[in-house]
């Protein structure tokens, strides 16, 4: 009996060790593999441009793009700041607008009945089609672009928050009723915490959409010589066949998108990691 026990114990240890080792390998591979892919792609790209002598106005080499990033930084950085400000402000207003509208809709059936169709109409109308109008009615190009980005970003927050606010556990709702909770208490202590995971899911989508909205708005509104942010810079560079700058701007926009996604994921994790199923690490 005892020998058997010891044997199986060591067997478990070996198994455990193997699993640990695999986990470590996985952790390294998680970073190594994408980096290698990137290295090969950029290397292949550089080699192709150099060997085939591709002209820079058709495909700039990664080296040239890198140089442009450094040389044009004085131009690219302010543009990035503008696009960043546009995106974050749009997202902020989308949170305020989406969340307060969702609360209004769930607090009053009548408000929802009256207003929800228009929220949908706002969402499904392509922002590219509204942008020229906004440009006419709003003096400031920045404000017009902000409105565009807001229009795109607010809907996922609104619809997710509505679902979340309605998803509170029924027994908990009964319990709040038994204890005579006020409408405000039900909202503050039950509906809002229940909605949090849904809201944060919406926020992740809205973050990406706010950037897309900002880029589209800059394309449409920034064209009138108002020279807004990165997207305007990109468009202008394409007119001038300055493909090095075009790629540099494109890379920076991608970097911003990744950064926003990372930030939203971090916010989501910080709010949920203690209690929500989505943030749980499964036992191996």
């Amino acid at each position: 009996m005892t020998t058997l026990g010891i044997e199986s114990e060591t067997a478990i240890d070996v198994e455990e060790e193997r699993r640990e080792r695999q986990k470590k390998i996985y952790r390294v591979a998680q970073w190594m593999l994408p980096s290698l892919v990137l290295l090969f792609m950029v290397g292949g790209w550089q080699a192709y441009v150099t060997i085939a002598e591709v002209p820079h106005y058709i495909l700039p080499s990664p080296l040239l793009i890198g140089q442009t990033l450094i040389n044009d930084w004085g131009l690219l950085w302010p543009a990035m700041a503008v696009t960043g400000r546009l995106t974050m402000l749009a997202l902020l207003f989308a949170i305020i607008g989406g969340l307060s509208m969702a609360i209004a809709f769930t607090q009053s059936k009548w408000v929802e009945l009256a207003m929800f169709p228009y929220a949908v109409v706002l969402q499904v109308t392509p922002v590219v089609a509204i942008a020229p109008l906004l440009q006419i009615y709003v003096d400031s190009a920045f404000v017009a672009a902000l409105l565009c980005a807001w229009l795109v970003a607010f809907f996922p927050i609104l619809s997710n928050s509505i679902i979340g606010l309605k998803s509170a556990d029924h027994n908990l709702q009964d319990l709040f009723k038994i204890y005579g909770a006020t409408k405000w208490q039900k909202l503050r202590y039950l509906a809002l915490p229940s909605a949090l995971p849904f809201f944060l899911g919406g926020l992740k989508i809205a973050g990406g959409l706010a950037l897309i909205g900002a880029v589209v708005a800059e394309f449409v509104i920034g064209r009138a010589g108002t020279g807004l942010g990165l997207a305007s810079t990109l468009l202008e560079a394409s007119y001038r066949f300055n493909f090095g700058r075009l790629y540099a701007a494109l890379i920076l926009i991608s970097v911003m998108g990744v950064a926003i996604f990372g930030l939203m994921s971090l916010i989501s994790y910080c709010f949920l990691f203690r209690w929500h199923e989505s943030a749980l690490k499964k036992e191996a």
């Binding site: 556990d169 027994n171 908990l172 009964d174 319990l175 709040f176 009723k177 038994i178 204890y179 005579g180 909770a181 208490q185 202590y189 039950l190 915490p193 949090l196 203690r274 209690w275 929500h276 199923e277 749980l280």
Partner: protein, 260 residues
């Protein structure tokens, strides 16, 4: 049945008279329900699903109102008179154990600090004072149910309503919680109405078993279990237990026979 229990005149806590509850489409959930609950009762509502036992509980809780008939609380129903335990633990997953237990007070506008003593006492009663800072997901099913009971008892209600609270637990945990519930009741002495579909659970726990039948939901019999508290695990193997269980089963069978 043993008749050793001394007959003490106890005050009536709650009286349901001629309760009729219809749902949409004239489905009769309860027909002519008359029930008098006395202070200190441990009353089980026993019956098959669909017999209206949960409906009766929700009527008492004030979550439903009867189509006709009255429910009278002796001395009127106060704010803290009622505690409820549902079939699921029904905890707020985002709140720590102690904050979950704080809820009934919190909804009355009482700060945590002002009721800290009551909260800790309630957690002690269910043996979870060491888990006050845990989140519900860190607890087992039985422990979650204990938190739920602590929350229901924290205001020291006159009446505790329990709607099949242990039905989803495994048998070992259920037996353990049955005993702990009896010990709890011994300690704080509140009245309990306990909904269950288990004959054995109702016999072990209660001193009054009200048997109900379905279609329409109604009371078909009542049974006293005159075995004095405290009852221990040994009670489960005693002849009194067996005879009470077979008596309750007989009433249930009669009801089922009518339907089939």
């Amino acid at each position: 049945m043993m008749n050793s229990a001394t007959v003490v005149q106890r005050n009536e806590l709650l009286r349901m008279s001629h309760i009729e509850k219809k749902f949409r489409g004239d489905i009769v959930a309860l027909r002519n329900l008359n029930l008098s609950i006395k202070e200190g009762d441990f009353l089980s509502l026993l019956g098959p699903s669909g017999c209206g036992k949960s409906t009766a509980l929700r009527l008492i809780a004030g979550l439903l109102s009867p189509t006709s008939g009255t429910i009278d609380w002796q001395g009127g129903k106060g704010d803290d008179d009622l505690g409820v335990v549902f079939q699921e633990p029904t905890l707020m997953p985002w709140a720590r154990v102690k904050d979950n237990v704080w809820l009934p007070f919190r909804l009355r506008g009482k700060s945590f600090a002002s009721v800290n003593g009551e909260i800790m006492q309630a957690l002690q009663l269910v043996g979870l004072e060491d888990f006050q800072n845990a989140f519900p997901r860190e607890l087992s099913g039985g422990m979650k149910m204990r938190v739920s009971i602590a929350r229901a008892l924290v205001t020291r209600p006159r009446l505790l309503l329990m709607d099949e609270p242990f039905a989803a637990l495994d048998e070992i945990t259920r037996h353990r919680l049955n005993e702990d519930l009896l010990a709890l009741r011994q300690a704080i002495g509140c009245t309990i109405i306990f909904v269950t579909h288990s004959v054995f659970e109702s016999v072990f726990l209660s001193d009054r078993i009200v048997v109900m039948a379905a279609r329409p939901g109604r009371i078909i019999g009542e049974l006293n279990v005159d075995v004095p508290y405290p009852r221990s695990e040994a009670f489960r193997t005693s002849p009194e237990y067996a005879s009470a269980a077979s008596a309750a089963s007989k009433i249930l069978e009669q009801a089922m026979g009518e339907v089939i």
